[in-house]
């Protein structure tokens, strides 16, 4: 059974998104949560590339331009996220989210 490459791409990106989401929701290490979020963003990027390449109107480069921007945004997001992780590490000497329980209620 041969599938259209677009379908395969979509199945793969949905899997990637679900793995990222599961990781982000279940991990207690904040850097691993960050990794999960990056996986989810990359799943979306894969979608854009797949739709751009195999979609009905491949002429304008919209999809690929979108990916270029969103990769840059993901990099900026990782920078901000790691800075926040460092600032919490300085305080509690650990980056486990279970210990980040000062704020509750």
């Amino acid at each position: 059974m041969i599938h259209h490459p677009l379908e395969l791409c979509l199945v793969f990106s949905s899997l990637l998104f679900c793995i990222g989401l599961a990781g982000a929701l279940s991990r207690s290490n904040s850097i691993l949560v960050l990794l999960g979020i990056e996986l989810m963003l990359n799943a979306a990027n894969l979608n854009f590339v797949a739709f751009w390449r195999y979609g009905p109107s491949p002429a304008p480069a919209t999809g690929i331009v979108f990916v270029a921007f969103s990769v840059a945004v993901a990099a900026a997001e990782a920078a901000v996220g790691l800075a926040l992780v460092i600032s919490i590490y300085r305080r509690q000497r650990s980056i486990r989210l279970q210990e980040a329980v000062r704020l509750k209620g």
């Binding site: 989401l21 979608n47 926040l84």
Partner: protein, 487 residues
């Protein structure tokens, strides 16, 4: 598609002014102000920042009108009003910062707030998914930094990290939803998306995309069940940041959602004004709105911390605002904008009061406000105006905001449908809300001050900010047509 760079330049002048202002703040702080005292640097950065915001506000008033750069941006009444609203709320947030405890690295703080404001003004005017995503991320990334900025307090880092993790997940949902919509319609321009969606029957993939976008909106607007970050951020972040996150970002966010949902996804809106429901995003939004109002109002009853109380009340107001989004299609954006703007002023004013009280002692618990009337009558008066406006007591602006939004929602289908029942629920829950707002006022007005509590001196900047916000609340409450006649 005509690409007119000159109009684009003119349309983006407010953002340009904000960015130049941010760079000027940083530049001055690194060069001229370097040798001066800490408090002088603090005041100078805030003054330059406020000047940049005022210039941007003036430029936003007199820009071009209509679609810009082939429809990437749209400067209609809603966009212009939201830009000016966001900038005036930024000014109030700068006032909150100025009236509170001094932060270290004030220049960086002000610069990041200006970057966030430029992202928010861009969000108000965007009409294309790519620019929408970039504007949202510019604003969000700056807001995460603002939330975690106050390094002196361990809570701030935690608040920033939690805000970031939730927000990052929301951004991923949004991007995935956008990618599916791009795949289904082959376009990223909202009007074209609407045209293509109208031509095809909605499929399951479109529903997945819509749900993902709505989940992301729920996170950003702090609507239940995606609200978990809000109380922690309001409690942990520096008061100025909390004020900014609660007011300006909410106003811009609501305009942004309204634009994307009604311009882009209009053909799949569905209907919730009468039974049976027509599937689409309106019933989903109505469900989220109802749940937010319930969670927000009942959650606020249990709070002993004033900031968490404001956070839960923000969740319930989010619910009411999302309810207002439903009515935009038939009755225009006037009531929704009025509600979001006046809510922003009131909540930013309340945070400014907290910020002033904080200068002379901790202000976290509601009991920390005890005896505020003896300690600072002016502050108590302002606090009364803000909380009563949040509760929706006439003649303050909060009452008319709720009234006009609920009236427009009721005109959709009367009391016969789910949306009408939600309005009844919202009105009933307003009584619950009045209770917890009055608890705050009771502490401030009736309870005697704690032993050794001194009088609070209100600095001129703080007094000006508070007076401005209070006058706006009263004036807009007495003359709502000042805003409503714009639309």
């Amino acid at each position: 598609m005509s690409l007119d760079y000159r109009t684009l330049f003119e349309a983006l002048r407010p953002e340009g002014a904000l960015i130049i202002g941010a760079l000027a703040v940083l530049g001055f702080d690194l060069s001229i102000l370097r040798r001066l005292s800490e408090s002088l640097r603090y005041r100078a950065s805030l003054a330059v920042g406020a000047a940049a915001v005022v210039v941007a506000g003036c430029l936003a008033c007199c820009g071009p009108y209509g679609p810009v750069f082939g429809g990437v941006l749209i400067l209609d009444r809603l966009a212009v009003a939201t830009r000016i609203g966001v900038l005036s709320l930024t000014l109030i947030a700068l006032g909150t910062v100025a009236s509170g405890q001094k932060l270290r690295h004030s220049a960086e703080y002000v610069a990041i707030m200006l970057f966030a404001a430029s992202g928010l003004t861009l969000m108000a005017a965007t009409q294309q998914l790519l620019v929408a995503f970039l504007a949202l991320e510019l604003a969000s990334l700056s807001l995460y930094i603002l939330a975690g900025f106050d390094k002196a307090r361990p809570e701030a880092a935690e608040a920033g990290l939690k805000y970031f993790l939730f927000g990052g997940m929301a951004a991923a949902f949004l991007l995935f939803g956008f990618s599916l919509i791009y795949g289904l319609t082959g376009s990223v321009d909202l009007p074209e998306i609407a045209a293509r969606l109208a031509a095809h029957a909605p499929g399951p993939l479109l529903m997945v995309a819509l749900i993902m976008v709505l989940v992301a909106f729920g996170f950003k607007a702090a609507a239940a069940p995606f609200h978990l970050w809000a109380p922690d951020v309001y409690e942990g972040a520096a008061t100025g940041s909390a004020s900014f996150i609660a007011s300006a970002s909410k106003l811009a966010g609501i305009t942004f959602f309204t634009r994307i949902l009604w311009t882009g996804f209009y053909p799949v809106s569905g209907d919730a004004s009468s039974l049976p429901l027509a599937p689409g995003w309106v019933p989903a939004l109505a469900a989220v709105a109802g749940f937010s109002m319930l969670v927000g109002n009942f959650g606020a009853l249990a709070q002993t911390n004033i900031r968490r109380l404001l956070a839960y009340s923000a969740i319930s107001h989010s619910g009411a605002l999302l309810l207002g989004v439903i009515a935009v299609g038939d009755f225009g954006v006037g009531p929704l904008f009025y509600y979001a703007f006046t809510y922003g002023i009131a909540v930013a004013g309340a945070f400014t009061v907290i910020s002033v009280v904080e200068k002379s002692g901790p202000c976290q618990k509601i009991t920390d406000l005890g005896g505020l009337f003896q300690r600072a009558p002016f502050l108590t008066g302002c606090l009364a105006i803000f909380t009563l406006s949040l509760a929706g007591i006439p003649p303050l602006a909060g009452f008319f905001g709720k009234f006009s939004v609920f009236a427009s929602v009721l005109r959709l289908g009367g009391l016969g449908g789910p949306v009408g029942w939600l309005v009844v629920l919202a009105i009933a829950l307003s009584a619950v809300a009045l209770y917890y707002y009055l608890i705050v006022l009771k502490q401030a007005l009736v309870t005697p001050a704690a032993q050794g509590a001194t009088r609070i001196v209100v600095a001129p900047v703080a007094a000006t900010t508070l007076a401005l916000a209070a006058v706006l609340i009263v004036l807009l409450g007495l003359r709502p047509s000042l805003i409503l006649s714009l639309f």
